[in-house]
């Protein structure tokens, strides 16, 4: 038997294991990778960044222990570079040419045709964004090894792109109220096509668990507007807003101050907090619905953790005049690993090599559209 739970002699499970995921790295070691990366990225006019990303992932993965063995990143810089070239020559360049043509059409007074072309262009980008999300996850799983076994998917993700379009639109249509449904449903669809070793992932996250948080996030802007209009109404009623040239009533002056504070707090503090609260719940629900054979996953970061995480990131970037930006991959990864949990058991004899194909190119699309995903 190679069942992990029975292999107590090699890795004795403590009474209460801290987590199946442990991170052993430190930021000083990461800095030794990140600073040369920054230098090389600058002197190569950005081309090195694909190899830079790869080196950082190699470090982060190799310092991450799952149960009793380290993860391993086997992606190559050249794969990300090829992905980028594919996107550049097959998508960005043709798009630039089409855009150029449509501008010419506007000059020539063919606004309707130009509008149609731009619409089709945006639609194609929308579709490709969906495909990109799928393929990035597939790429990352297929390059992640644990005990010599990797993940992957045989699905190319083209159909997922179609789902991405209709589910996103269906989420937006009822005044954006079904966004939690569309994002959870897409998360499930994406993960249900992925596998690790011989096992398929199953994802059964429930979108209804998200609705309370979503409505909170949804209502905050309305509440802020109500507050703003209440103050404007009050100021209007007391005549403080009449331009009669007279002195501003001190009470109204104070109210104007309150007004400014409400606007500031509302837009720069309350809305981001509400968004993070939703995001935090989203991750707990989404990861909580994920299973791999007899393993179940959990994500333990709560809203306060996310808020502190973002505040600390901002502080790091501001205090280092932006240089701290190069530590963000480290921060993101450690935050993710610190809060990941796994329960259940793995039968190591049954965990055999993945039969999925390994696509030869990386996350070019996702990179090009500037979106990120776990």
């Amino acid at each position: 038997m190679d069942d992990y739970s029975s292999r107590s002699e090699s890795a004795p499970p403590p009474a209460k294991p801290p987590s199946a995921f442990q991170f052993h790295g430190n930021w000083q070691d990461f800095a030794k990778i990140a600073f040369p990366n920054l230098l090389l990225t600058i002197v190569t006019l950005g081309i090195y960044r694909f190899w830079a990303t790869t080196r950082e992932r190699e470090y982060l993965w190799s310092q991450t222990e799952f149960i009793d063995e380290r993860l391993e990143w086997t992606g190559k810089g050249i794969e990300l570079f090829i992905g980028f070239l594919l996107v550049f020559f097959l998508i960005l360049m043709p798009f630039a040419v089409i855009n150029f043509i449509s501008q010419g059409l506007i000059f020539q007074g063919q606004e309707a045709l130009a509008g149609l072309i731009v619409f089709l262009l945006l639609f194609a980008i929308f579709y490709l964004t969906g495909v990109a999300y799928f393929r990035a996850l597939r790429y990352r799983l297929s390059r992640t090894y644990w005990r010599g076994i990797r993940g992957g998917s045989d699905n190319p993700g083209f159909f997922y792109g179609v789902s991405y379009i209709w589910k996103s639109l269906a989420g937006w249509l009822p005044i954006f109220l079904l966004v939690p449904w569309s994002s959870i449903s897409l998360w499930n669809e994406r993960w249900n096509r992925m596998s690790f070793g011989p096992h398929m992932f199953t994802s059964n996250a429930e979108w209804t668990d998200l609705m309370k948080r979503y409505l909170l996030f949804y209502l905050v802007p309305f509440l802020i507007f109500v507050g703003i209009f209440a103050i404007i109404g009050y100021l209007g009623a007391t005549g403080a807003l009449q331009p009669d040239g007279g002195e501003l009533d001190p009470g109204a002056g104070a109210l104007l101050g309150v007004f400014a504070i409400v606007v500031f707090v509302g837009f720069y503090i309350l809305i981001p907090i509400a968004a993070l609260m939703y995001y935090s719940k989203f991750f707990r629900v989404a990861v909580g619905g994920l299973k791999l054979h007899k393993l179940e996953f959990d994500f333990t970061a709560r809203s306060a953790d996310w808020i502190l995480f973002f505040l600390a990131n901002m502080a790091i970037i501001l205090c280092t005049l932006g240089i701290g930006y190069i530590f963000m991959p480290y921060r993101n990864w450690t935050f993710f690993v610190r809060h990941m949990e796994a329960f259940g058991e793995i039968n190591l004899d049954e965990l055999t090599q993945s039969e999925t194909t390994r696509a030869g190119h990386g996350e070019g699309l996702l990179d090009a559209f500037d979106v990120g995903a776990i």
Binding site: D2, L45, A96, I106, E111, R147, T352
Partner: protein
């Protein structure tokens, strides 16, 4: 190649890539091959030549096999001398950089990058004249066409415009100068010898000589092949800096191309001054036009006109230097002739009004 005695064994761990079971193994090297032996099982033989360096993991050097997905061999600590010659060397940055060292590699890359940027910046000057005029013309036609019917034309107005163009250029046949019925104070040179003067500029002008100065400036862009140069340079920069993501790349791109556009503006001004001297048109009015523009510096916009005039400033960066260049070219005591007669000027000014079938505005943006 060092010959290793068959009884020479090294302890290691191994994943065979087929299952996730970790196997404590001894490495038994025989010539260029080796076996991995467990207590009851022997794996192999494997060739040292198939080994790849995977990375460092928890203090161990990890090797992979070229042919077997997931095959791993881990050796803790220093690689024993007998094996280190047979196994691939550890890799840090990969490939070229490891061979050169970080410092030398950085300098090499920096030199190559500088050379590439220099090629992209400087070669358009030589390449642009090599682009056949017919290509450029077709490109201009594809881009502009009839401008959505917004070009104004009346018999007298077009004649006045042609007279001005003929005075300023020796070969006006391959130029296409048009007035567009768009309320913007600006003029542009486009591929294929197209010069478009916007009606707003004419409305704003106090004399035909101002229009002549601006028109000569745009003809200068055409004659110096600036349009093609800028297109080639922009194309090259966007490819070279395509690798850089986001703001860094576009800032650099903007800075590099704008320094070139300043040079191009100066060359076009020189052309304009020469053309007006040859045509015996006074540069004073054009200098006056620049003076009027320079008084409006964004913060101080007394009327609606000002906002429209800033359109010209955004594409033609102004400096006192440019105004002085036109002023200095004014020759004391010289008898200049007006570029158009009062009647011609009137018909040019009213050309758009009097053209019955011209479109107006700027499509969806107006």
């Amino acid at each position: 190649m060092t010959e290793i005695a068959p009884d020479h064994v090294f302890q290691a761990w191994h994943f065979d890539g087929k299952s996730a079971v970790r196997r404590p193994v001894d490495i038994q090297a025989i010539g260029n091959d080796f076996y991995l032996t467990e207590t009851e099982r022997r794996h192999g033989p494997f060739a040292f030549a198939d080994m790849t360096y995977v990375g460092e993991q928890n203090g161990a050097h990890v090797y992979g096999h070229d042919e077997i997905d997931g095959w791993r061999l881990g050796l803790r600590g220093e690689i024993p001398g007998e094996l280190s010659g047979l196994l691939p060397p550890p890799r840090r940055y990969g490939g070229w950089i490891d061979r050169l060292g970080l410092g030398k590699a950085s300098i090499t890359f920096a030199v190559i990058s500088a050379a590439v940027v220099a090629v992209v910046l400087f070669t358009p000057q030589w390449l642009a004249p090599l682009v056949p005029s017919s290509w450029e013309r077709e490109m201009g036609d594809a881009l502009v066409g009839d401008f959505g019917g917004r070009f104004c034309s009346t018999e007298d107005g077009s004649a006045a415009l042609a007279k001005m163009t003929h005075a300023l250029d020796d070969n006006p046949e391959d130029l296409q100068v048009e007035v567009a019925n768009i309320d913007m104070v600006n003029a542009v040179a486009l591929p294929g010898g197209k010069v478009i003067i916007f009606q707003g500029l004419i409305d704003n002008a106090r004399s035909p000589d101002e229009i002549a100065g601006v028109l000569a400036h745009e003809i200068g862009h055409v004659r110096e092949r600036h349009v093609m140069q800028a297109l080639l340079r922009q194309f090259g920069l966007s490819i070279v800096l395509g690798g850089a993501d986001g703001t860094g790349g576009s800032l650099l791109n903007g800075a590099l191309s704008s320094s070139y556009s300043r040079d191009a503006e100066r060359e076009a001004d020189d052309f304009s001054i020469r053309a007006m001297r040859n045509a015996n048109i006074s540069p004073a009015a054009t200098a006056g036009f620049f003076r009027r523009l320079s008084r409006l510096d964004g913060s101080d916009q007394p009327d609606q006109n000002a906002a429209r005039i800033t359109g010209y400033m955004s594409t033609h960066p102004l400096s006192g230097e440019r105004q002085r260049a036109f002023e200095n070219s004014l020759e004391e005591g010289k008898q200049y002739a007006p570029s158009l007669t009062a009647a011609e000027w009137q018909s040019l000014k009213t050309m758009c009004e009097n053209d019955p079938d011209v479109e107006s505005g700027f499509g969806p943006f107006d």
